[in-house]
């Protein structure tokens, strides 16, 4: 084979695109919040390393996801321009890149921070790349609920990286993102027409219908309200938060529930329906998570660490 007939090698931007940078920004934010909200001091260099490892692990898992789902991505408009479906990169390179990034993140976390945080990071990568992507996503309409577990790991890992142990508080942080994910994604699924049905992925709105999806959104929003208030109930010596977080969580979660209820009780008004409540719920859900975790960090730094008496 001559140089003229060989395909061009993938550019570094294609490898970067494999890591799903937009998803990674949320992973970095929640991981950083877990780290900063933990009741322990961590050296800034080690804190940076922990967040870098979380980002690398998420990037590696995303690359493995794209490697496995290359055929599915090729069949959907939203994902058809990714590096593998467009032929900018071969599948083996994507698999090797993802595997190497994931392995490097776990070993760096283990050597620099601790093996408990490294083990949870490894579990999160395995959960996303194998349990979610390969096993359950193509088999159950509850795939979004299961996928939410993968996105819920970063604050748990950040907290464990800072404190060195698992307590009730980081598990609650995990649960908050776990219960937030379904209403967030299902609100999006209600107003964005996706091609998942075409490629055989059983998404809830397609398989069970809109009415069931709307009910499920309300169920998760109802569960989220008391769950987000739990950290306020836990004493500060066990890692709990104060009034800044508590009031913020009560206001934010009540608003979230009200928007979810509005989505839950309505029906689509034909093809001309602008789906405004669903769009508002989705938009607010992003703001909600950022604000909730920012409130945790603010509470820890302002009240619990005594910056303001």
């Amino acid at each position: 084979m001559t140089a003229t007939t060989q395909p061009l090698p993938a550019e570094w931007r294609d490898f970067f695109a494999l890591t799903k940078p937009r998803v990674m920004s949320l992973v970095i934010f929640t991981g950083l919040c877990g780290l900063l909200a933990a009741p322990a001091h961590i050296h800034p260099v080690l804190g940076f390393t922990a967040i870098l490892c979380i980002a690398m692990g998420a990037g590696g898992a995303a690359a493995l996801n794209m490697w496995w789902e290359a055929d599915i991505d090729a069949g959907m408009k939203r994902t058809a321009n990714r590096p593998l479906p467009t032929g900018k990169m071969d599948r083996t390179s994507a698999r090797d890149f993802g595997g190497a990034l994931a392995a490097a993140s776990v070993f760096l976390m283990g050597f620099a921070i601790g093996w408990l945080a490294a083990a949870i990071l490894a579990l999160s990568i395995f959960y996303y790349a194998v349990i979610y992507t390969i096993w359950l996503k193509p088999r159950t309409p509850q795939n979004i609920v299961i996928g939410g577990g993968a996105g819920a790991f970063p604050p748990l890992i950040g907290w464990v990286a800072a404190t060195g142990d698992i307590t009730l508080m980081p598990v609650i942080l995990f649960a908050i993102i776990f219960f937030w994910t379904p209403p967030h994604f299902w609100a999006l699924a209600l107003f964005v027409q996706t091609d998942y049905a075409k490629v055989g992925i059983p998404m809830l709105p397609v398989v069970a219908g809109e009415a069931v999806t709307r009910r499920q959104i309300v169920v998760y929003a109802v569960l989220l309200l008391p769950l987000t208030l739990l950290p306020w109930m836990i004493p500060a010596q066990f890692g709990g938060f104060g009034a800044i977080y508590g009031v913020s969580a009560a206001v934010l979660s009540t608003l979230f529930l009200l928007l979810a209820l509005r989505v839950g009780v309505r029906k689509r008004q034909g093809d001309a329906d602008t789906m405004r409540p669903e769009k508002q719920l989705f938009g607010f859900s992003v703001l909600y998570l950022f604000a909730l975790f920012a409130a945790m960090v603010a509470d820890r730094w302002i009240v619990v660490q005594g910056i303001v008496p």
């Binding site: 140089a3 003229t4 007939t5 090698p9 993938a10 570094w12 260099v45």
Partner: protein, 46 residues
């Protein structure tokens, strides 16, 4: 498929450019990793 000599030389130039850029990015990442390892060692000793 027959390719014109021009497109062949363009492809060769593109290949060279892509590989050079990839090598530079890899070198920067490796240098960053070396600096990070040094900084982690200092932080853990402190």
């Amino acid at each position: 498929m027959t390719q014109l000599p021009d497109s062949a030389s363009n492809a060769a130039a593109d290949r060279k450019r892509i590989l050079r850029t990839r090598n530079i990015v890899l070198a920067v990442i490796l240098a960053g990793f070396a600096i990070l390892t040094f900084a982690i060692s200092i932080a853990k000793m402190g």
